[in-house]
């Protein structure tokens, strides 16, 4: 029994996991809008900052 079988099985398993992840992400509509998430991603950081500013300890 060679280690090659194990390696082969592992490599295909990893590939299949990524393939399934891709299919699920397409199904969830992650590829429908490729622009907005790139902007939205930047908001959260700034929001936290804003909370700090707008709620100063009295």
């Amino acid at each position: 029994m060679s280690v090659i079988y194990l390696l082969l099985a592992l490599s295909i398993l990893v590939a299949i996991i990524f393939f399934i992840a891709f299919i699920i992400s397409v199904k969830n509509g992650q590829f429908d809008d490729a622009y907005t998430p790139s902007v939205r991603m930047l908001f959260d950081d700034e929001l936290v900052k804003e909370k700090k500013i707008t709620q100063p300890p009295k």
Binding site: I23, K27, D33, T36, F43
Partner: protein, 791 residues
Amino acid sequence: MENVPCYHCGYSCNKQINSENEKFFCCKGCKTVYEIFLENNLAHYYDFQQTPGATPEENKGKFDFLSQDKIAEKLLEFNEGNTQITTLYIPHIHCSSCIWILENLHKLQKGISSSMVNFTEKKVRITFKSSEVTLHEIALLLSVIGYEPSISLDDYKAGKNKIDRSLLYKLGVAGFAFGNVMFLSFPEYFEVTGFWIEHYKTLFRGLMFVFSLPVVFYAAQDYFISAYKGISAHLLNIDVPIALGILVLFFRSSVEVIFDLGTGFFDSLTGLVFFLLLGKYFQQRTYSFLSFERDYTSYFPIAVTRILAGNKEEIVQIYEVKKGDRLLIRNQELIPVDAILMRGNAQIDYSFVTGESLAVEKKRGNKLFAGGKQLSGILEIEVLASVSQSYLTQLWSNVVFQKEKNASFKTITDRISKHFTIFVLLMAFSSAIFWLFIDASKALNVFTAVLIIACPCAIALAAPFTLGNLLRIYGKKKFYLKNAAVIEQLAAIDTVIFDKTGTITTSVNNEIHYHGVVLSTFETALLKSSLQGSNHPLSRMLYKSFEEVESLELTNFKEFIGKGIETRYRKTTAKIGSYSFVKNELKKHSFDTAVHVSFNNDYKGKFSFKNTYRPGFLNVFSDLGKNYELAILSGDNRGEAVYLKENSPKNTQLLFNQRPEDKLRYIAKLQKSGKKVMMIGDGLNDAGALAQSNVGVSLSENINTFSPACDAILDASKFNQISKYIRASKSAIQIIKYAFLLSFIYNVIGLYFAATGQLMPIIAAILMPLSSISIVVFTTVTTNFIGKKLQ
């Protein structure tokens, strides 16, 4: 008077009024929005982008129809228990601030659980609880903060359209298989005989075979379907040799693997399908925020107010409006049916229908056509015909709108593929026959090798990548095409037809000319002050033209609705308005729109309003006139005939008083005589002509607002670039031809190996991606070069 940009919307405003926290606002509306945001800790809105807002328009009652459950339900895409989801189209979405505020709606309104913006489609998807907030309230909230949703008849009838993601799945499958097969075939590229490879090759080859199955039977199925359709229609389209190549690749490889004859070509097979699908995906992506399929329904309202006996009002769905009904049309509302004006002062703006920006005045008893927008006050109208039977909407019952456009058009790829397929088949058979005499055992081998290597992957990729890239470049230059095939159509054009109003004239600026006795400074001042009090669109426009003149305090002001105004300053009486009002005579028939003026009943003259022609329109005409036949189809009278005749190239056809159907028929007639027609129009009345023409281009001042169904939308500021776009499209066709030549050279090299019986899998595996990639690089670089020449 110092002017600063409004903090909310950026519109220039007077510094003295409406300041708050040292911020300046142009109007109360903008200030209110600011205050709402400030109150709810959302002032962060102004940090992402300067002056991101829009002035909220006050239209009470505009969304009243949403309070009817039956109508509101139709707009929900999910409606169960206490969870409702709706998607609203908001034209104002344009920057990151918009995304931010709309995704924070839950902070403004209780009951909204979440909201998500799709920026490219300008849509927001809102999840809310119907027990706490209604769709009506959400629409009102959005309007109040300057993000008025656009809800039209189109939304009412539209079923939930499913997004087709099958191409992405196929691409995923092909990519997955391609990667794994490459990985598995690597050992045999370098070590052909060795103990190690002998030991494991059966396993490796078996796995490759398994990986290729979903590629052939799932990912590549479109090519088989298309090839089958082509053959049954006696057409050798490009998918025929592709499908043939895929099948031969698969069967020969399977036979080789099963009978242990060789490695097979699974690497080439999966790679080929992957690259082809990639090309398809590249071409498929278009502008999701623009719609090229709009008809009147995307512009008409969902419901109107019907007046019942006893002056009761009722909101009624527009398809239920019948002949004889009485309807109430509010300010800024659209008249959805042909009707007779019963009561009210009608100022109808038909700009969406004809492109004419000046409002038309109508009196009691006059006929109103569907598609006009009321500009001043409330109207009561009696319906003459139902929605689908009205003068304008009848146009859509024409067969042009039913059949798929340009279905018979043969693309450049299809034209070449016919010759190519025949050549490949001849080549395969003749080399097979040749080998039958030399070495019969090799004949089948050579036959399949020729079909494999000739599989026109590079040819199939040339057009998608060239046109797809040019489509994107055009988009950056504000010329938006429906799909890549339009570029090919554009290159074949020989006749260009223009609509007049709104297309070669602009609806933004109007030229005002004064004809008559010269007015004194005092008279001009009096005129200006008189106009100040009037809300008539012509008065507003004329008023704006007297910027430098001082104002006077009037002693008397009277407005006669539908006629004009009479004002007094000390001893001078001014009469401003229609000819019959000012001169007390019946109006002679006149073509132009004008405001007449008299002082103390002494007639002075008239201010006539004229549409100005777009800048560069003369250049466009003389430029196009050299190579194309031109025509102007106008729905208007002959008022401009002389000017146009003088300024357009000699052979230009000028036709006036054209009804929408006439325009359509004129184009159909030209096409019958073999012409390829490009129509450039703007309003709903051009919709028929745009649909009939080979390339229908809709010119739009603001691409987000409205444009009728068409093949392309051109931003009005790029009107003078039209001839350059056509020229660039022609160059694109040249590029595709060069790309064909290039891929043909690759094929000849490959065919040499194939026909001499020495095609190794590794040669195929190198040659195929190499040819595909070099075609992609060549077309991308050259189209970018063409794009640089565009402004």
